[in-house]
């Protein structure tokens, strides 16, 4: 064999092998990593919130837990449970709200900042398609909700351990605390709530924000907020109706089915859930279709819109 044909064949082999070696998932994986490099605040901020909350809890734990437990033991079981659960609910709520706000700002920046600093020209010089890029950016909001769950789980567990230590020290019943908190079923409820509402039900919200982020030349926040507000006003003015406002309210407040029972004021809404009812809600599926349409439009915009 002469060397020249060997070299030629090697070159041919490597050319054919290269695309095969690079699977579809690799660009996606690296796109996700790139998002986390660029937007470190999306996970650092919730961690900081959890840390501050835990610190506050630690400082006041000794006093609080004891008085709470004593007080709780004297009143009726319903109130007792609510009193014990309160700090856990605050922790969960704080992390959930923080992550939601961060998600909103992440989505608005996701496809806007790369155009603002023109780095889109660099990203587009690499073999990562617009579909992969936009889908990786759309994955982050979902992943963040799961991160919120994991963070809440860990935070609440640490709170439980701290409270147990305090209670054990003062001779009160640790078992009552663990019974009332019902840690694992509460956590399961939280996970259910985050997946159904914060991921699936809110999907069109994230989709809309990503679309605006891909479309707006500047001030994506205003472009995301003003058109819906304008529509509400126009509808009121022209037709004297509030269908659009009701639609938005329905979307933000979550599906009004028995799948969530918020009335009790405790973590009840997390423990009484009904997946069947949720999946049978037409609003869920319509929302997902709308979210997919928004994402499709965002992909097309990133593809068609010139770099500037």
């Amino acid at each position: 064999m002469n060397t020249e044909s060997n070299v030629a064949r090697e070159a041919l082999d490597s050319q054919q092998a290269a695309p095969a070696v690079m699977s579809v998932t690799r660009p996606f994986y690296w796109s996700i990593r790139r998002e986390l490099w660029e937007n470190r605040w999306i996970y650092i901020a919730p961690l900081a919130v959890a840390a501050v909350f835990l610190f506050g809890f630690l400082v006041t734990a000794g006093h609080h837990v004891r008085t709470q437990m004593r007080a709780a033991l004297t009143v009726d079981p319903g109130k007792q449970r609510a009193a014990i659960l309160l700090p856990y609910e605050i922790a969960a709520g704080l992390i959930m709200v923080t992550v939601f706000i961060l998600t909103v700002f992440y989505c608005l920046e996701a496809l806007h900042s790369e155009r603002r600093d023109r780095s889109i020209l660099f990203w587009k010089s690499l073999p990562v398609s617009d579909i992969t890029t936009v889908l990786s950016k759309a994955t982050i909001p979902c992943a963040l909700q799961l991160f919120a769950f994991a963070l809440t789980f860990v935070t609440q567990f640490i709170m439980l351990l701290l409270s147990s230590a305090v209670l054990a020290g003062s001779g009160l019943s640790v078992a009552t605390l663990w019974n009332q908190v019902a840690f694992y079923s509460t956590s399961l409820g939280l996970l259910y709530h985050l997946v159904t509402v914060h991921i699936l039900w809110y999907a069109p919200i994230y989709g809309w924000l990503l679309l605006v982020s891909a479309w707006a030349r500047r001030a994506p926040f205003l472009w995301a907020v003003l058109p819906p507000v304008a529509i509400i006003f126009l509808e009121k003015l022209v037709f004297d109706t509030t269908y659009f406002a009701a639609l938005l309210q329905y979307r933000f407040s979550g599906p009004e089915t028995p799948s969530f029972n918020r009335g009790s004021g405790s973590m009840g809404y997390m423990t009484h859930f009904n997946l069947g009812n949720f999946l049978a809600t037409p609003g869920l599926w319509m929302g997902l279709v709308v979210a997919a349409a928004f994402l499709f439009a965002a992909i097309r915009l990133r593809r068609h819109r010139g770099p500037n």
């Binding site: 690296w30 990593r33 790139r34 587009k124 010089s125 690499l126 073999p127 010139g306």
Partner: protein, 291 residues
């Protein structure tokens, strides 16, 4: 084999015509300089070639339609569009990790060895680097990608002369071989002059000059005409006339060298002078385009 082939390439933005029926053909292994005034359509042409913008007309890049087959094409094409498009938040090491992660033709060791010649630290963020260093980093990344076509759009704009010279030196010595094609646009014509194998002038969306550097040298001559020979010189229909230190310099297209030598001192014109000559003869309208 042609790397780039365009026939009747058109692109309009509203009523503005950015590309007005461009025909061009760039063979493999050439280094083409695409030169034109601001707003001539250079970047639009490059964007079409890179599949960044839709267009009308026929365009094949490495045998593919760059708009419909962009995801496929981008593995074989590299580009540096303007200086400073590297994201400012990224760390040097992250940039290398990312490109190594997504590009099947990226040779990380090669990029590292290019970077070793610079003072760029792996832990620095792009925002902490000087403009020249960012250009070095981008070039190191691009040169480590085994691509068949490299497109450079004003790659050295705003860099000082040392970086600019170094940029083209590395490109020629460490990257270019006869199987790759390079297309470069720049305003700093003098610096690419000795790098190019082909030259193309573009003006108002049209190609007004398209020839190899050998052709340029054989076709165009500049004469510092002796004052008493001026009328004889003008009779040979120079395409451009300018004054330097009180002497007239006339630029001729396709006039015999022997004939010109009788008029005064003959030399090859610089691309910058040729560019000015071709552009002003177009806008003057008294002479035809230079081809």
């Amino acid at each position: 084999m042609a790397s780039i082939e365009a026939r009747g390439l058109r692109k309009t933005f509203g009523t503005t015509i950015a590309l007005d029926g461009v025909n061009l053909r760039v063979e493999e292994g050439r280094i083409l300089g695409l030169i034109g005034p601001n707003g001539a359509g250079k970047t639009t042409a490059l964007n079409a070639i890179l599949g960044l913008t839709p267009y009308q007309g026929e365009l094949r890049v490495l045998g593919r339609d760059p708009w419909t087959a962009r995801d496929d094409l981008v593995r074989d094409v590299c580009f540096i569009a303007d200086v400073a498009v590297l994201p400012r938040w990224i760390k040097v090491s992250q940039a290398l990790d990312y490109v190594a992660g997504v590009h099947p033709r990226f040779d990380r060791a090669k990029a590292e060895s290019f970077l070793a010649r610079t003072t760029i630290r792996r832990t620095s963020k792009v925002r902490e680097l000087s403009k020249g260093m960012v250009a070095q980093l981008h070039l190191a990344i691009v040169m480590a990608i085994d691509a068949r076509l490299l497109v450079l759009d004003e790659p050295t704009l705003g860099l000082d002369i040392l970086y600019r010279k170094q940029f083209y030196d590395s490109l020629l010595n460490d990257y270019f071989d006869r199987s790759r094609t390079i297309v470069v646009t720049t305003h700093q014509v003098e610096e690419v002059e000795h790098v190019l194998t082909d030259l193309m002038f573009i003006d108002r969306g049209q190609i007004v000059l398209d020839c190899s550097m050998e052709e340029v040298e054989s076709r165009y001559l500049e004469v510092m005409v002796n004052p008493e020979k001026m009328s004889a010189a003008r009779a040979l229909r120079p395409i451009y006339e300018r004054q330097v230190f009180g002497r007239s310099i006339l630029l001729f297209d396709g006039v015999d060298r022997q004939q010109l030598a009788a008029l005064g001192e003959v030399r090859a014109p610089g691309i910058a002078d040729l560019f000015v000559a071709v552009m002003s003869s177009r806008s003057g309208g008294t002479q035809g385009a230079a081809r």
